[in-house]
């Protein structure tokens, strides 16, 4: 059974061994600085000087590159076309193409937005590629994050593929009774109800059983939970996290100061 919803790649590396909180802190620092820094080229520099080397250290270069290309190329193409043509208030005309006018301000804005999005998505991508969801959740729970919330996150990751399988089974069952799910739009919409009905009601029944199962495993016991694996955290990682915080404060402060 595929577990496609988790991006994690099990490949030992210095990046994989880092505490999840450190990775999150660095990712957030990159993002906040990319968005708040006063300097126009900051996001691009963060991407080339920060994110790409980390991807290489994490031995995730190939996956990182291919996912990025798939994710960003269409988005950026769309962004540049829209912004360069329709950015409001632009005055510097770069060139005209029939009735379309490409303005410098639009291109600049598109570039800034694109590099910011690049930093935001790619730093999270690195966290997800190098961190197993259960490692992340164990660490957060150990730090006092509510167990209920981390349960919701991890169980959702697991349950969505199961729901997909279930929907497949229901569709097969309805097909074998002669239901037609192909054809015109109206036909397809009509075919949706016999799928959604059993899926939703079946899941509601499952919820009660799942609740019983969780109770039987003492999920609601009023005790302090422990963890199978202690997620290691080192002194220098704490220092790195403080530095991240400091950089964020400086970046946001300079933004306020200079504007």
């Amino acid at each position: 059974m595929s577990n496609k919803l988790s991006f994690y790649i099990d490949r030992p590396s210095p990046l994989q061994r880092l505490n999840p909180l450190t990775k999150m802190a660095v990712a957030f620092a990159f993002i906040i600085i990319a968005f708040s820094a006063h300097w126009y080229w900051a996001p691009l520099i963060i991407f080339f000087v920060g994110i790409i080397p980390i991807a290489v250290v994490g031995k995730l270069g190939r996956e990182f590159f291919s996912t990025s290309v798939h994710l960003f190329l269409p988005l950026f193409a769309f962004l540049f076309v829209m912004q360069s043509l329709f950015h409001p208030g632009g005055t510097t005309v770069l060139f005209r193409l029939w009735f379309l006018t490409v303005k410098l301000e639009g291109v600049q804005f598109a570039f800034l937005t694109a590099t910011r999005i690049l930093v935001m998505v790619s730093s999270f991508l690195l966290v997800l590629l190098s961190t197993h969801p259960s490692t992340l959740m164990s660490d957060l729970t150990q730090r006092g994050f509510p167990a209920m919330l981390s349960y919701i996150v991890t169980s959702t990751l697991q349950i969505i593929p199961q729901m997909r399988n279930k929907a497949g089974t229901i569709i097969d069952a309805q097909h074998s009774r002669g239901m037609n799910t192909e054809g015109s739009l109206g036909q397809r919409v009509k075919a949706l109800l016999p799928l959604v009905g059993p899926l939703v009601f079946g899941s509601l029944v499952d919820v009660e059983e799942r609740a019983v199962a969780l109770e039987a495993r003492a999920f609601n016991a009023p005790r302090k939970k422990t963890s199978l694996r202690e997620i290691p955290d080192t002194g220098w990682e704490k220092v790195v996290r403080w530095i991240c915080l400091l950089l964020v404060v400086v970046s946001m402060g300079s933004n306020i100061w200079l504007s």
Binding site: S134, T154, Q158, E209, V212, E215, A216, R217
Partner: protein, 288 residues
């Protein structure tokens, strides 16, 4: 010493029109293996949920009488307390997977984490139940990528690891194929050898006959019969009430009507007993 004691216990679900259990009195000795049979709606699941404490702490309703499990008055206790004494495993193996763990090993640890067992103590306990349930080779697999029988053994291990003294099994094989059923019964057999008290609702009477110390027949929320597997499973009341009778008993019963199975011979329940009986008859060992 009795580890489970129900005294004149009755229960009606909040949504129920009539009581699901009526004046049930039952005493189970420590280490005993009790099987509960009965037609659908006879109260098997309610009785299981009562012993595990889910009635009335999870499934609400009106109670009367008393229930005591492993020294704890369940009606005045809490569910969090009860799960330390009685473990519950039910039909659907899929819904018993917590959903928050990515490997079988982590899945088994889930209950220990919730109980606050120190991390260093977990490995030994997990290894032990994995050996007992025969799932050692599945440790690193996803709990979702298993067969029904394997999943049900993971569910059993996940409860066993919490070390309850009573295991309540509510039709644990009803959604499994014959291989899965056999695997689960093998685990149940190992549990009895560990001295764990077992209460099991089950339709598959041939398996019950082979393992259970005592069989309780429920009908309309009351105890209709109880006694050794041999006596209850061949009782003429069972087919009358539409309760599962072993096909081997049925065959021998039909043979008896044709005067092929001697009237003074006890009816068989398992395949082995039927085979032995018919061999004896065919060889002509039995004097006519």
């Amino acid at each position: 010493m009795a580890i489970i004691e129900l005294n004149d216990f009755s229960f009606q679900y909040t949504t129920g029109k009539q009581p699901a259990l009526q004046h049930v009195s039952l005493s189970v000795e420590e280490g005993e293996f009790i099987a509960i049979i009965g037609p659908n709606g006879s109260g098997k699941s309610t009785l299981c949920d009562t012993i595990a404490g889910f009635v009335p702490h999870f499934f609400k309703g009106e109670t009367s009488g008393s229930v005591k499990v492993d020294g704890v008055e369940t009606l005045s206790s809490t569910l969090a307390e009860m799960v330390l004494h009685a473990g519950l495993v039910f039909q659907n193996p899929f819904n018993q997977i917590s959903g928050s763990k990515f490997t079988v090993y982590e899945e088994i640890a889930f209950g220990l984490e919730n109980l606050g067992v120190p991390g260093g103590e977990m490995a030994g306990r997990i290894e032990e139940v994995m050996a007992l349930t025969g799932i050692k080779d599945l440790a690193d697999r996803s709990p979702y990528a298993l067969s029904g029988g394997q999943q049900q053994r993971v569910a059993l291990a996940s409860i066993l690891v919490m070390q309850p003294r009573v295991m309540v099994l509510d039709e644990p094989t009803s959604q499994l194929d014959p291989i899965g059923t056999r695997e689960v019964f093998q685990v149940v057999r190992s549990m009895t050898s560990k001295g764990i008290t077992i209460v099991m609702a089950e339709h598959k009477v041939e398996h019950i006959a082979a393992f259970a110390d005592r069989v309780i027949v429920l009908d309309e929320g009351k105890i209709l019969l109880q006694g050794t597997a041999r006596d209850t499973l061949t009782d003429p009341l069972l087919p009358e009430r539409g309760v599962g009778v072993s096909r081997f008993t049925t065959v021998a019963h039909l043979a008896q009507k044709e005067a092929l199975w001697p009237a003074d011979h006890v009816l068989p329940v398992t395949l082995e007993e039927a085979a032995d009986g018919f061999q004896e008859i065919l060889r002509g060992d039995h004097a006519h």
